[in-house]
Amino acid sequence: MIGSGGQIRPHYRRLTERLNTLPETDFNSRRAAVDLAFLRRGVTFTVYNDSEGTERIFPFDIIPRIIPASEWKTLEAGLIQRITALNLFLDDIYHKQKILKDKVVPAAQVLSAKHFRREFMNFSVPRDIYVHMCGTDLIRDHDGRYLVLEDNLRCPSGVSYMLENRAAMRRAFPNLFQSYGVRPVAGYADSLLKALRFISPRRTEKPTVVLLTPGVFNSAYFEHSFLARQMGIPIVEGRDLLVSDARVFMRTTAGLMPVDVIYRRIDDDFIDPLVFREDSVLGVPGLVSAYREGNVALANAIGTGVADDKVVYAYVPKMIKYYLDQEPILPNVPTYLATNPSERKFILENIAKLVVKSANEAGGYGMLIGPAANKEEITEFRKKVAANPRNFIAQDPVMLSRSPTWCDGSLEGRHIDLRPYILYGEKITVTPGGLTRVALRKGSLVVNSSQGGGSKDTWVLQGEA
């Protein structure tokens, strides 16, 4: 919000003026009303500390994050470029593996990835689309450049908060919206349904699309039911489905109804106990056979996790050049691979200055923030990295940009990131907006909801201010 010279950036000026005219009691009552609305509407996630889960509202900061049109245009182009390359990469990896043969990406890194599914080699997915929905985490560095922190290509979550945050802000500041020219995000569910229908194996006007949820105990259950409601499709659990003659059916009160497309929010590992984890009680026995026969489509496809492995992430700029012959519009955060001997040496020597991440963890778990860690933690991670280099990468710590946030009665700068949502159907669309997550603890760089993070509404403007 504050530019390099200390002045307020132009697209924040009107918001600042509005807030200055608002008496503090009025401001506080609007904040309280927003929180209460989240609670009443049940916009909550579940935190599991012990065996008992407690529902919490995702802390919400009512100062929006504002992105002017020109900035967004670059972001949008960069995200479309990136998902296009990632999708081509997946198609290549599961077929001819040209990029490995040309030694642009080392074969050993890809084939050893935890989420590489060799069972699906030479399997062709409907319309050649692997990643139908993607949530890419971006940060801005001290020069105001956007960098890609990670890609989420399996079951990215959070999109319901983007939509609910907007609804909350519209209730709290109706007038500001009109005058600011904020681009709407409400088209997301519609685009999602279109993208899902696009991959139906049965070419019919209205294929049957369902959302497969792990169930009501999952922390993102609110989001699953929210999206199903917005799209008007049934939300099903594994036990609601069954496979017979390689066709998927759902158990309805009127008998068994055929299913064409499954928007699954369950990891590959759990989706079919006959093929992956046999102890899974969330999946549907036989689902993979129906998928292989081409009788049902899955979104995202099985095996996309290989491309959001953090080691493979490091090669995405090279993929963009290789497949598209373009320069990456959005750079990666500088990344060191522990598998590379010289970089490993660098990591081990400089671990206290770096951020170290596990290749396949999400939610801010399994990472070390060197500058903030104590001696024991550093020693422990050094041992881990040395013992299993394939499982670790390190990055230069990036000072995430800060955004003014309401903290105990005054506005203070807090670190933020941005997760925009990209849909890949007949064409690729990026919803103008996204989930801005904010690290509410002073000085903290961890924005995950499970670790003290909150969120803000993200305004993408029609114009510049």
Binding site: R41, S225, T253, L282
Partner: protein
């Protein structure tokens, strides 16, 4: 496991998952149950206010009879000693160890609603959620310190609001049939129990049938079923035990009478099971049909001859059977998986 048999799929405008149908059914039942327990507690707490100080064991016997009619006496005995207004309120209102306490019912209703919140209107969900939030932080001490009357009033109001919103925001679809079926089944069951309370009450020895206490008790029975005004409109004269029983069992127009409820239950059952009222194909249909014809043809004299308590027990059994059989018929589920592991795996999925 025997092979699963599935009926032919009948294409129709809206399709409903079996699991969703059952969540609608239980959501509706639990809300109705919470309301009935609130009314029963409210009325009887007020009733006993008029009998402060007389005969020490009068209160205890009164509460015992209510616990007996709800089939909760054994469980109550394992938690509390002698029943009094305080601990019965605690047990029936807020104790999670009692699966039928108001709090347990509201939690269950909300958990069912949460599973299917994409299927119900935002208004319905918000009402249940509000009731849940309202109850979440209450304690019995606090309720007693302020006003129990207000407390029960709030619960009943939420239930009425929920039912009214369902009526005005929910499509008349198969889901509607399950919601109504669940509500009416619960309502009929609770009416039998409210009537049965009187069977368990031992009258104070000095006064007999027809005395002041007896009349006050029958009046409490009517009020427990929200039936006092309707009863008076129907029978202008004083409150007579067999008339009260007749009204709550046989009235064709009072919405909590057994006759009225079972007529409705039978209608929704025909729709849910897709069968006609004349020739019944299913066990549930035949049970409902038999119960309805009893309620159409018997008189209060027949019931009293058989014994009111025995008659009410038979009705309860029939209602249970109808509910169980409908679940069996519309539920094509394999064996349930162990809950705990299921929960743990559900928690793990997140990116």
């Amino acid at each position: 496991m025997p092979p699963l048999r599935f009926p032919e799929f009948r294409p129709q405008a809206t399709v409903m998952l079996s699991r969703v149908a059952h969540s609608l059914y239980w959501m509706s039942r639990y809300i109705e149950r919470a309301e009935n327990i609130s009314r029963l507690l409210d009325v009887n707490l007020q009733f006993l206010l008029d009998f402060q100080g007389i005969e020490d064991n009068f209160h205890e016997e009164h509460w015992d009879s209510i616990l007996a009619s709800l089939e909760d006496r054994a469980l109550f005995g394992t938690i509390h000693g002698a029943a009094d207004s305080r601990n019965v309120t605690d047990f029936l209102a807020l104790d999670l160890r009692n699966p039928n306490s108001i709090l347990s019912c509201v939690n269950s209703a909300r958990e069912n609603a949460r599973m299917i919140r994409d299927q119900i209107s935002a208004e319905m969900w918000e009402t249940i959620n509000e009731l849940y939030l309202y109850l979440k932080d209450r304690s019995a001490t606090e309720i007693w310190a302020t006003s129990p009357y207000e407390f029960f009033q709030d619960i009943k109001r939420h239930s009425h609001l929920f039912q009214g919103l369902t009526e005005s925001t929910y499509s008349r679809s198969e889901g509607w049939e399950f919601i109504q079926f669940g509500k009416l089944l619960e309502r009929a069951d609770k009416t039998t129990r409210i009537l049965d309370v009187k069977y368990h009450i031992i009258l104070p020895s000095v006064e007999g049938v027809g005395g002041a206490v007896d009349t006050a008790q029958w009046q409490a029975v009517l009020r427990s079923a929200s039936a006092l005004e309707s009863y008076h409109r129907f029978y202008v004269h004083e409150i007579l035990p067999w008339k009260v029983a007749e009204f709550l069992i046989f009235s064709e127009s009072f919405p909590r009478s057994l006759h009225y409820c079972v007529t409705q239950i039978d209608g929704f059952l025909c729709k849910i099971l897709a069968e006609s009222g004349t020739r019944r194909r299913t066990a549930a249909g035949r049970t409902a049909s038999r119960l309805l014809s009893d309620l159409q043809s018997l008189t209060i004299t027949d019931v009293l001859k058989q014994g009111l308590h025995e008659f009410l027990m038979d009705v309860q059994k029939s209602l249970d059977r109808i509910g169980d059989e409908v679940i069996q018929t519309t539920m094509f589920y394999p064996v349930e998986v162990p809950q705990e592991e299921h929960q743990q795996q559900q928690v793990q999925q997140q990116q």
